[in-house]
Every structure is written in C-alpha cells, then in structure tokens.
C-alpha cells in the first residue's frame, strides 16, 4: 500500500511540480517577485478540494463524461495561459510597457489550474482511505514520500534552470514551455476521445517497447513534453498545431513593432 501511494502521488505531483519550477525559474530570471507562488498554491488547493469533493456530481454531467470534459477544459486552459505567459514574457524582455502584474497573474492561474487537476485526484484517493481507516498510516506516509520526491525533482529542475547561461536558459525555457503546453492539448484531446466527443482511431505508432510510459523516463517525458507511446493522428496533429501556435505567438511578439516600446 505504501509503495502504491508513493507512486500515485509522485505521478500527480511531478507534472504540476515541473510546470511550477519552470515558471518560478522564469520569474526569477525576469526579476518578478515570487509572491504569486503562494497565491497559486492556495487557489490550486481550493480548486482541487472543490473538484475533488464534487467529482460525483461533475462525473454525471454531459451523459457521464463530465470528468473528461472538466479535465480537458483545465488542460486547455493551461495551454492558453502558457501561450499568454510566453507572449507577455517576450514583450517584457523586449521592453514593452506590459502591465507589471500581468505575468505573475497568468503564471499563478496556470499553476493553480495544474494543481486543481492533479490535486483533486490525490484528494479523491486519500478520501477513499479516510473512509476505511485501517491503512491510513501507510497511505499517508506513502503520499508524503511521493509528494516529497515530486517536489524535490521540481527543486532540482528549478536550480538547474537557474544555473544555465541566460541565452541557453531562454531557449530551453521557451522550448519546454511550448512542449508542456502542447502536451496539455494532447492530453485534452485524449480525454475528449475517451468521452466520445472526438473521433477515436487506431494509434499511429506504438513506441512503448522503446520507451514505456510507465518507466521513470517515460513519466518524466510525459510531464515535460507530453510523451505518449500510442498517439492517434488527431492527437499528433493537435500537438503539432499547439507547438506552432505558441511558438508563432511568441515569434510575433518578438517581431512586433509599436510606439509603446520604451527604451530597454
């Protein structure tokens, strides 16, 4: 039971932790106060509690696929917010007069949605054991260890991002934000296929023999770039379109000329 809890909580925490660390590193690079982190944690935990404790009602919506629709909406929301973060960060670096609070607000919303998504699942899991009671100690210990490992991986990633040369950090950071964002749309597409809202299809390929989604590397890549061993054509198309959209938006922001520009 202990090990199952470690793995379950680690998987959920890892995804949110990597996104969190990446945006925190971006904040530090842009000299933005990290106060938004606290707001995101509180809002995300609240969101997770609301979703977690109403999951039975949510599940019944839309003929029993409310859960898929909600999660897909959360993930698509994260994608849009990351697009916003990318564009705003580029404009800010270029010296445009963007509202100072815009970037931290976008980042806080993004992380809050990620915590809502992953945290609600942990809450549902824990609530199940609260009902039984006998395995409570093992489950709680396992969850704390799992969360601890997830947060540690996030911390290592955060410091690694901060030690990179500024130019390299910008390229790696922009690349990862784009791929995390695209991964969100890929997962959202998968959920809507599961709900029968989008057409189902055979997978284009099966790379699980080379890199299993269950392996440690597979899980890390899943969280970082949305790795999927058996994607359908639709998922791949959405993923590529999402990468192009976010990079295109950032490139547009990088080339934008306007009178608003102040001297950098």
């Amino acid at each position: 039971m202990l090990l199952s809890s470690v793995i379950l909580v680690l998987r959920e925490v890892l995804e949110a932790a990597l996104l969190f660390s990446l945006l925190m590193a971006l904040s530090v690079r842009l000299r933005i106060s990290l106060r938004w982190v606290l707001v995101a944690l509180v809002a995300g935990t609240l969101g997770a509690a609301i979703c977690g404790f109403n999951i039975d009602r949510i599940s019944e919506l839309y003929d029993g696929v409310g859960q898929e629709v909600l999660n897909a909406a959360l993930q698509f929301g994260i994608f849009l917010l990351l697009c916003g973060v990318g564009v705003t960060a580029v404009l800010r670096v270029r010296g445009f007069a963007v509202p100072l609070q815009l970037l931290p607000v976008l980042m806080a919303m993004c992380v809050a949605l990620a915590i809502t998504r992953e945290g609600s699942e942990i809450m549902i899991y824990l609530s199940g054991f609260l009902q039984i009671g006998d395995q409570w100690a093992a489950v709680l210990t396992g969850s704390v260890i799992g969360a601890g490992i997830g947060v540690s991986v996030g911390a290592v990633f955060y410091f690694a991002m901060l030690t990179l040369q500024p130019r390299l950090a910008a390229v790696v950071g922009a690349g990862l934000i784009s791929l995390i964002a695209a991964g969100m749309t890929l997962q959202a597409t998968e959920l809507l296929i599961q709900a029968d809202w989008l057409p189902a299809d055979y997978p284009l390929w099966d790379s699980s023999a080379i890199l299993s989604e269950q392996s440690v590397a597979g899980q890390l890549l899943y969280a970082l770039v949305g790795y999927e061993a058996t994607p359908t054509a639709l998922q791949l198309a959405v993923y590529l379109a999402a990468v192009l959209a976010i990079l295109g938006a950032a490139a547009l922001a990088a080339c934008w000329r306007s009178a608003d520009r102040v001297q950098p």
Partner: protein
C-alpha cells in the same frame, strides 16, 4: 416505374449505410469493481470497433480505471458507475488496473 423506385430506395440505403454505422450506438460491455477486484478480470470485445465500457464500482471507496495500453484514465467514485469509450482496437490483449489499488485490481481487455 416500381422497380426504378425500389432501386432508388436501395441506392439511398446503400449510400446512407456508412452514416448509420457511424451513428449507431457502440456495443456496450459491463464490468464491476468489488472488493478492489475487477469482475470479470478479462473482458472480450470485438476488435476494430469502438465499444462503450460501463464500469460499476460496488465498493464504497473510489477507484481509478487506468490503462496505458488503452490510453484511458477515469475516476469512479464508490457505489457509482462510469462510462468509458475504448477502441477501435487491433486484436490483442490490453491490460488495465485500478490505480488506487494496483496490487489487486487488475484486468485486461481482449479484442478479437
């Protein structure tokens, strides 16, 4: 004239049949969770076809239906049911498990 009409009708049916096939409700298969076990633990479904899986959780505790092979993941609260669409699948075996009780809740979909 009568024959002509009948041929027309048959032609219309023929043209519309693919749409009927798409719109027809996918076949439904049922599965239970009881004492953190899937019953049955192997479920046979037709290959190359989308099917609707209805999973009843008879336990008071929540469970999460999860499968890497099927790309599916869904929380099923205690004493409730969940609908999960799967497929089309090539013939083969596709394991699934209950993520909240991964040591006992194990099963597989057999597409044939």
């Amino acid at each position: 004239m009568n024959i002509y009409l009948r041929q027309c009708a048959l032609l219309c049916l023929y043209i519309l049949s693919p749409f009927n096939a798409v719109n027809a409700a996918p076949p439904e298969f049922q599965l239970e969770i009881r004492d953190h076990l899937f019953l049955p633990d192997a479920i046979r479904i037709p290959a190359d076809q989308k099917v609707k899986l209805v999973v009843y959780n008879r336990d008071p505790t929540p469970e999460e239906f999860e499968s890497y092979e099927l790309n599916r993941e869904k929380v099923i609260m205690g004493n409730s049911k969940a609908i999960i669409f799967i497929g089309p699948l090539k013939p083969g075996e596709y394991p699934f498990f209950g993520e909240f009780n991964p040591t006992t809740a194990l099963g597989k979909v057999i597409a044939e």
